[in-house]
Symmetry: C2
Subunit: 142 residues, 2 copies
């Protein structure tokens, strides 16, 4: 499932954007929605990878049977999305370059799988080094 | 400032949507962005009032000088937005019909002003009574 999120992150990077990708699946692996950060592409501060995948999955009555897969530890905004909609499982590519709210989600009963994928970490670390101003803007750090 | 958020909520209701509105201002009252929930109008599960107002405010390097005004206590998703981007103050119309994450925000240093506005509460209570299935869908409650 991580491969879909990574493909989204790479697509974002190729567009000149911030390389974070995500996908929402059912528990048995059916893809519901996929997306990537669109801050640069659409001048849209509100579309993070996870919110893009969530939106692409359309309207649903519930999320109990879903898994959110993301290349990077979810920020508070995206962690809040997971908690509010009761997404019970999050698979994370890496949390080396950014440690978001996944410990908080785990405390609230969300199953967290942290893959510590070297490819995800290298892609993000390279981007942060190349474009620190974009990255800090994306996480609201002055 | 609440009047702008209320006007957004009413616009949403008139469109057949969920009547929650929000606006982002500077600390001295300049309007940066306004919006309302668009779940019904756009079949968009990701656009809550606060995220709509945040998006409408465009890309910003920081949010230290901003105030988020919303007709209803922010859900975890929108509370996460406020925390991630360091929005230091939230003005809330009411929290009678829904108690979101504003206590958590206060614990993390966000200044919360809860107006307990009867008009906001009546509008939301009327909607929840009329369209409970839409409301539960919007907060991820089965």
């Amino acid at each position: 499932m991580l491969a879909v999120a990574v493909a989204e992150a790479r697509a974002g990077l190729a567009e000149g954007g911030i390389p974070i990708g995500a996908a929402l699946f059912t528990a048995d692996g059916e893809l519901l929605g996929r997306g990537h950060n669109r801050r640069v592409q659409d001048d849209d501060a509100s579309t993070h990878a996870e919110t893009a995948a969530f939106r692409a999955a359309g309207r649903r009555a519930g999320y109990r049977d879903t898994v959110m897969v993301t290349t990077l530890s979810p920020c508070w905004y995206c962690s809040g999305l997971v908690r509010q909609f009761g997404i019970p499982r999050v698979v994370i590519g890496e949390a080396r370059t950014f440690h978001g709210g996944h410990d908080w989600l785990a405390e609230h009963g969300v199953e967290i799988t942290l893959l510590d994928d070297p490819g995800c970490a290298a892609m993000m670390a390279g981007f942060v080094e190349a474009r620190p101003e974009l990255w800090f803007e994306d996480i609201g750090r002055d």
